[in-house]
Amino acid sequence: MKVETMTTESAGGSASTLPLARGAGKSIARTTIFVPGDAAALALGADAVVAAIAAEAARQGISLRLVRNGTRGMVWLEPLVEVATAQGRIAYGPVAAADVPGLFAAGFMTGGAHPKCLGPTDEIPWLARQQRLACRRIGVVDPRSLADYVARGGGEGLRRARAMAPAAIVDAVTGSGLRGRGGAAFPAGIKWRTVLAAPAAQKYIVCNADEGDSGTFSDRMLMEGDPYCLLEGMAIAGLAVGASQGYIYVRSEYPHAVAALDAALEDAGDFLGDFKLEVRKGAGSYVCGEETALLESLEGRRGIVRAKPPLPAISGLFGRPTVINNVITFASVPDILAQGAAAYRDLGCGRSRGTLPFQLAGNIKYGGLVEVPFGLSLRELLYDFGGGSRSGRPLRAVQVGGPLGAYLPAAQFDTLLDYEAFATIGAGLGHGGIVAFDDSVDLAQQARYAMKFCAIESCGKCTPCRIGSTRGVEVIDRIRAGDTRQIELLQELCETMTQGSLCAMGSMTPIPVISALRHFPEDFGDKRT
């Protein structure tokens, strides 16, 4: 049996040895098996696969080393089992517990042939065609092992940042062209510069890990699969602006991400230096993803949006200058410091520099995480990566950018994926979530849901959002009941919400509604096309 000993099985690693009885204490070489502990893999049965592998190994008296890695992002192949062989990591998937005895019989511990064998993981075309930066370690590294993180290039950005002046760190981030990945796409370096320039004894770094948009899971994947990358990015931000305390605000719907971050912090030792970090849980409120509502929530209050100015960069958490960025924004920073701003800036197109981890979701055959430089077309993503619909029916509509994002018809699938190209067609990329619908979708119902969601999640501060969204649901109900004269009223209502709302919850909810109406008027019974 060919085996490979890993150098990473050190302090804090999650690797467990199965079975414990045999060879315990002796340093025998054991094969390493990876079975993701990522939430999506768990939802698809990864724990049962682990139990089956443990049972079969025990039965055969084989000692192996098991790592619960993150997901490679090929969700349709989960649970994806990998084996470390002399030829590199070999993938098998999707593996069911019932497949496990057969895998052993086929010699999967040395990469043996089996109907579920996918060959070397890195050569699977869906992965090989991506250009991963922020997400490059997810699924590869052992998320429970700081030593493994460092062995795979982690920590280099922070090490360099420690030798730099704060302004030089900010310059690197500015020079990379990195824009916020949470939705608003504001240049990260400019935000950091404002906080650096704000005089205060206490400043804060806050990570927005509320990831409320349907169709998005890149933050979750990163926190579960490569938590140290986020911690490192935040520590660099701390050095850049002079902040010694950070908070990660994670939505309560993500208990596995919370556990992964807590475990990483527990084992962080002096990796973060003087930078202190705390994980805080949200409590099921979408609007708490809006940065000022998030700060209110962190301070222990209802998540009501604050009027701006003052910007959080000037007066943020507890009234102090605060950097608040998305998970992927922070996770992009270590490599920018380690590889240099130019390497990042050289990717992408127009004013959209670097890469974006897109998330293919909904009715899509090959769903998951696709990190590529800006500039691909939506069609390439949907068909070349996504393989079309999961149901096998034609794709009819795609919602890009979460619940406040536009519904796009097939006629717009050739739009290039960059911030400006999307703005041109009245849409946005948001956090990179792409939700596909086949031809059974009813866009009037989707428009109704957009209004309903706003009504449920509105923080209640302004009338157009709070009342307008409820009216919107009623008006769409009347339209769906056949009263198409109400369409004009719906358009006026949307105009009022767009103009009169304090934050994007109210002002952007009309985007899915109006785009549905514009591109799919037949679903509203509108014969005026």
Partner: protein, 147 residues
């Protein structure tokens, strides 16, 4: 009250933490399954807030509850990516199936399992993907059998 015995050390542990209220509420709910209304005056006193403020926070957030949930809490995702693969039919099925049962059914707006929907969460710990009505019935039957 027995619940106050649980609550007191939780408040004490977080009292001096900045923005302590949400961590306190989470820990109480994690321990007891809900936030007992009789704990509210105690929290208010220790954090130097009014009872109305505490109630305001509890009622603002969908996650917190003031009454004990059923034996199991089943959260079905009702957001767009799951809608695209049949979440609405699943939610309706779940409503019918769990009507009058000891289970609490709640909607949730995305679990981050959007490439393998429809998805659901049971008791915050267990996740399930690609849930059909038939698979749903099997999951519920298994929980009922484990009673």
């Amino acid at each position: 009250m027995e619940s106050l015995v649980t609550v007191a050390p939780i408040i004490e542990a977080h009292r001096l933490q900045p923005g302590a209220l949400l961590p306190i509420l989470h820990e109480i709910q994690d321990a007891l399954g809900f936030i007992p209304p009789e704990a509210v005056p105690q929290i208010a006193r220790e954090l130097n807030l009014s009872r109305a403020e505490i109630h305001g926070v509890i009622s603002y957030y969908a996650h917190f509850r003031l009454t004990p949930p059923g034996r199991h809490v089943v959260r079905v995702c009702c957001a767009e990516a799951c809608q695209a693969v049949g979440a609405q039919a699943l939610a309706e099925h779940a409503r019918t199936r769990l009507a009058g049962s000891e289970f609490t059914l709640e909607p949730v707006y995305c679990l981050g399992l959007c490439a393998c929907g429809p998805s659901l969460q049971i008791d915050e710990t267990t996740l399930h993907a690609q849930v059909t009505p038939q698979k749903f019935d099997e999951l519920i039957a298994a929980l009922e059998a484990a009673a």
